[in-house]
Symmetry: C2
Subunit: 340 residues, 2 copies
DNA sequence: TTGAAAGCGCTAACAC
DNA sequence: GTGTTAGCGCTTTCAA
């Protein structure tokens, strides 16, 4: 069996309290410090987390509920988040709910029963009902990427300025003389979809015009979806002169569709994509992209949760943090001369 | 505060033992069963996992250490694995070590300290040294996708028949009359890379010939890597007439390189890729692919670990399970007529 | 079948 | 600064 604090006490001749205090960063006499350190090493003592948890009611574990693990935006956020959290000695339990509200609710319940100290959710259920068990249990929650208005004040959130992101991209195209701008969005009803659509419409409004309805395609944030949506856009009698695609996977799919259709970018069609510039670096050297600060999002979420976990005090300490995006100009768009 | 078993005891007038027994599936008098059930519901009782863990020394948690979360093969395995494990009430702690041996070792140590009941590793460190702490602690281990000979008999493993997979693909091309077959592999030194290379060479040997060294490109299992490797193959004075790419990301990158080079598949170059047919379905309708049973791998790993977790008894219960792959014939290869 | 009681290994008063 | 002690909430003998 593994050594316990009792063993340390026996070997060093000290009391349990002294040892416990030392292990938790308290001050003890230098001589005793040495004593304990030696015993810990010799006995290969490792604190029993179960006992500690039972006593402190903390698991030093956080739960993450996401809609889909096979999505680079999500995985990159998880990676940077996990990095920070683990440095602070928190384990991360990941639950993939496959964009299914039932599964999502189950996952939250499961995590609450596992007594996670905090919860990170990229919600599928737009009502936020799935989070009720965590709310009831008083578990701090941080929403990622998608805010739920019904949970305002009850949770923290880290999102990007989606409206601004879409505005910038669309405005850029409008300013370049395009007025038939295809828009490929994610699932209708999802927060980011709505916001990005809003930004697109805002930009059009600035230019005192309205896009044709058929230019706006709802898809599903997958590569297949992006491919299909682009195909659909190209199949219209009036083809768009530019397209704005609103996530990484769909950007990839859309580019493949363009490739297949032998449409030269930007000569025959202008293109603005989303995310993960570096991966595209080699492949489509000069794509103009809206870039989300993926690492910053992950870090921000982790720090936000750590703050909630630490400041057990105070009152309404929930924050909504909005990070800005960048429009990374490549050469995948061209300027259209308007007829005078 | 949450209700405890004591509360149930108080409300029902029963003893703790009876309640505990009932909660753990034991038999109690029907009348008492009712009593307990009602109390549990009314008090919203949920067993405290900490206390249970302290008593049983089980965390009902398993750790997963992987090289990279942003890889579809890995995430799809995790997803199907997590599904099964969670159904059995095990939480999954995921640690991404970014293909870094130091990080990998730290992750294992972290998980051992967290007292996971089992460990799943897709190893980066080819010596297997990182798993020593888990081995010492007697934590059952299942290796995924990559076997480590040094750990033979000490761990279970689930792999695919990589040699056979590469043989099939290469043989198929050789039989079609190709003899200049480019091969794009992952990182040199990695298990799957070696096995797939072996299969490729085996097939050539069957045909009593040897491939030119320059046809074999080691890359890194990323899209960028696949793109670059394909470019390099195409840049040679003698271009291959066929190419076999050995994972999903590189297949994507390689196809993009072909697209860019305006090379028609299969007219100008034959192509066999890897994995995830369904995603490609829409995009490259007729790609010939080696398909790994990703879901089966995840399931197999989960079941294997559950077995080890349950059969706490017996002796050498470790198994190495090899799953077979399929060569899914599309129309991305053509037959070359050999000069008579 | 049921209940009393003894811990699992740790933390945190509290008294010294 | 240190030691004693009383639990945290559960499981599990053991006796009834």
């Amino acid at each position: 069996m593994a050594a316990t604090m009792k063993d340390i006490a026996r070997v060093t001749g000290l009391g349990l309290a002294t040892i416990s205090k030392y292990l938790n960063g308290g001050t003890v006499r230098p001589k005793n410090k040495k004593l304990i350190e030696n015993a810990v090493r010799d006995l290969r003592f490792v604190p029993n987390e179960f006992a500690r948890s039972l006593k402190t009611s903390q698991s030093r574990t956080v739960g993450v509920v996401i809609p889909e693990l096979g999505n680079q935006f999500i995985t990159s956020i998880i990676t940077s988040m996990e990095d920070i959290l683990r440095k602070h000695d928190y384990a991360v339990i990941v639950c993939d709910c496959r964009t299914d509200a039932k599964r999502e609710k189950d996952a939250v319940t499961f995590l609450v029963h596992k007594r996670v100290d905090g919860l990170i959710s990229m919600p599928t259920d737009t009502t936020g009902a799935h989070l009720q068990p965590a709310l009831d249990a008083g578990i701090p929650i941080v929403l990622v990427d998608r805010m739920l208005k019904s949970l305002n004040g009850l949770v923290s959130a880290v999102v990007v300025d989606n409206v601004d992101a879409a505005e910038k991209a669309t405005r850029f195209l409008l300013q370049s003389g395009h007025d038939e701008i295809g828009l490929i969005l994610g699932n209708e009803g999802i927060y980011t979809t709505q916001k990005r659509r809003e930004g697109y419409l805002n930009a059009y409004a600035e230019f005192h015009c309205k896009p044709r309805e058929e230019l706006i395609r709802f898809s599903d944030y997958t590569m297949d979806g992006g491919y299909a949506a682009m195909k659909a856009l190209l199949a219209q009698k009036t083809q768009p002169t530019a397209v704005f695609v609103t996530n990484f996977e769909m950007t990839l799919g859309a580019m493949l569709a363009l490739n297949e259709a032998q449409l030269k970018v930007p000569d025959q069609i202008s293109f603005i994509g989303f995310d993960k510039l570096d991966l595209f670096g080699a492949v489509f050297p000069n794509l103009t992209l809206v870039k989300q600060p993926q690492n910053a999002i992950g870090e921000c979420v982790a720090k936000q949760l750590l703050r909630l976990l630490t400041d057990a005090s105070s009152g309404p300490l929930h924050q909504i943090i909005t990070l800005s995006t960048q429009l990374n100009e490549g050469s995948s768009t061209r300027i259209i001369q308007k007829p005078q």
